[in-house]
Symmetry: C2
Amino acid sequence: MRLSQYYLPTQRETPADAQIASHRLMLRAGMIYQSTSGIYTWLPLGLRVLRKIELIVREEMDKAGGIELLMPTIQSAEVWQRSGRYDSYGKEMLRFKDRHDREMLYGPTNEELITEVFAQHIKSYRDLPKNLYHTQWKFRDEIRPRFGVMRGREFLMKDAYSFDIDYESAKKSYWNMFETYLKIFKRLGLTAIPVRADSGAIGGDLSHEFQILAPAGESTIYYDKAFDLVDFDNEESITQVQHLYAAADEKHDAASCPVSTENLRQAKGIEVGHIFYFGTKYSEPFNAKITTPDGKQVFAEMGSYGIGVSRLVGAIIEACFDGEGIKWPTSVAPFQVGLICAKTHDPKAVGFADAVYAKLLEVGVEVLYDDRDDRPGAKFANMDLIGLPWQVIVGSNAVEKGVIEIKQRVNGSRQELDLTSFINQLVV
Amino acid sequence: MRLSQYYLPTQRETPADAQIASHRLMLRAGMIYQSTSGIYTWLPLGLRVLRKIELIVREEMDKAGGIELLMPTIQSAEVWQRSGRYDSYGKEMLRFKDRHDREMLYGPTNEELITEVFAQHIKSYRDLPKNLYHTQWKFRDEIRPRFGVMRGREFLMKDAYSFDIDYESAKKSYWNMFETYLKIFKRLGLTAIPVRADSGAIGGDLSHEFQILAPAGESTIYYDKAFDLVDFDNEESITQVQHLYAAADEKHDAASCPVSTENLRQAKGIEVGHIFYFGTKYSEPFNAKITTPDGKQVFAEMGSYGIGVSRLVGAIIEACFDGEGIKWPTSVAPFQVGLICAKTHDPKAVGFADAVYAKLLEVGVEVLYDDRDDRPGAKFANMDLIGLPWQVIVGSNAVEKGVIEIKQRVNGSRQELDLTSFINQLVV
């Protein structure tokens, strides 16, 4: 993409009302525009990151046996009355009436809707287990929206729901998602600590929150330092994680903690995922009954599994930035390469940069080409701000020696290379 | 995907309350589930079609120079008060108040929001033209939702907005989208007739509706039979379409029609797209001013371009079905191949079918494998109902002679082939 034809409204000034780094950086990098309190338009650069996260989550959900569908954003109050949550949910639920005066709401979560769908279609143990998921916009009418997309009102969430014939099978489904979540966060370039959690409004006893380590985190967590050594590509190591100690501030008790002081770490965490087992809490009111192999009828055992997709955009930045801007992990970077022509008044340099751009596109590299007539210093600062993993600079050495300068954003390292060597390095 | 592990709740019975074929077939084929009046959950098979249409639209929009972003579903009433449409829009707009008693609404369209975003960032002729688009859920509170996803309340729409420095340039943007729409509908396997239209609530003078020919269409259209001969892969032919006669019932006047009776066709149409030029209607209230090359300030000239993505799922079915079920065009089919093992009690046949399944996956063919223990007749009827382009049947000849039976859904033709020959036919 040529920057001259793109839509990337970066800002040099720090927005006054943004309190945390990710919010400031998303505004400055032209990723989002606040349409109204807690509600954002995702500008092109921000949308690319959002979609990449969504895709990674989808790929891992599919690998784990999840089946994707899509529930609507607007729900009838009736299903929530049936579960008993319509009255208990509180003011975070956005409620309204349609033109026929029927009570409706914008879904803050989807346990009711999915259980109703499931109960309509699935009746036999032969069709279980099932893990149904979707990625859909939700609305929670926060009293004080803040921190940009980290605590917005309209947000994108992947929520999955498992259905099983009995507790043993439900536990397997739960730990399958536990493992899947660790793989997802690994692919996103993050360290996520699964912290045992209360089940909150949803109920049940198997429950973990996944916390990303970042200084701006809202909660303090304590965890076994063995987490830092886990090889997330190794199934056995992932299984071990189930047994490692991790607790949030309010649960941690130094006196009874099973991990010795020297093996215990303390850090700030941002919650980006939450998994629950809640048994028959919803299958009972929705009469989601399953026939067992011996002809009995039982209520389906359920769990739910959420990941805050739009929140993750902010959380990743909180874990990956410096004084100059964002440092995207490769897997979610909006483009892999930022190409800068530092000599826009030299036709040979422009020709060279154009050729580099064409070649990178040809080999399938996502490249953002700053072809504008602007000062090199401003272009460099802009590229550092938006944080693409690689910067390719076409300067005087390009024309004279045929080499380009490569800067790696994550560590600032620089090297001069010919284009073919760089492409080989990139594609490997 | 193995059907035994999928979520495909097909029905043999015709749903009583569905009035048109696409609605009946989508319910019977397990594509949608009605959560409440005019609001649907997209079940896995339906979602696959929806996503394929969305992707084709996106690819063609990107090729045409469109830049994708994403506006939220919930909007503040303020922006609509600014354009003057908050009062005029009527009861189809879903309005409500948030917890702080601020007036909000679920966006039925996005002219206001996009113009506000644009006005914030774009100030110079150097940054024009721009075509910004998104694909987002909309809500229109229809008084009597019907026809399934064809006239639902929550629906998915691609809406694009063009911004230009003057009328001449805006016209170019308009005809660029006109051409893009013809290409999109062609790729979807449809014949779309662009009919000159009133600009309705939005205003302006360049306006076309794109009508799909289908017996269940709501409007009658008259058009030059030359449309049927247009080669949509040829740019020149597409340009000619601009000048061909087409008019809706209420505009058509036999006496003044420039096309002779023998060259005029009459058909029913379903509206699936609408494009408008509306000048400065929104750029004025939102003060979207552009500096011209000679330093003057002018209001941006705008157009908007909508495609009903979820409506298209129904419209395509209305154009492509028979007494047995749906006949998906290849480009939007949820899977390309339906594999049936007709001898589930013969281990050799099952082994053969398993091997065919593995091979098709290996070469990247999307295949739905009916591996269930069910009567062959029921499996055949089910495959005809869901309408995948190709059916591959593994029966006694598979084990004995190593050949599979191939049925093409669109015309019912059958042939016996070895797998390699079929794959070559499919991949070419």
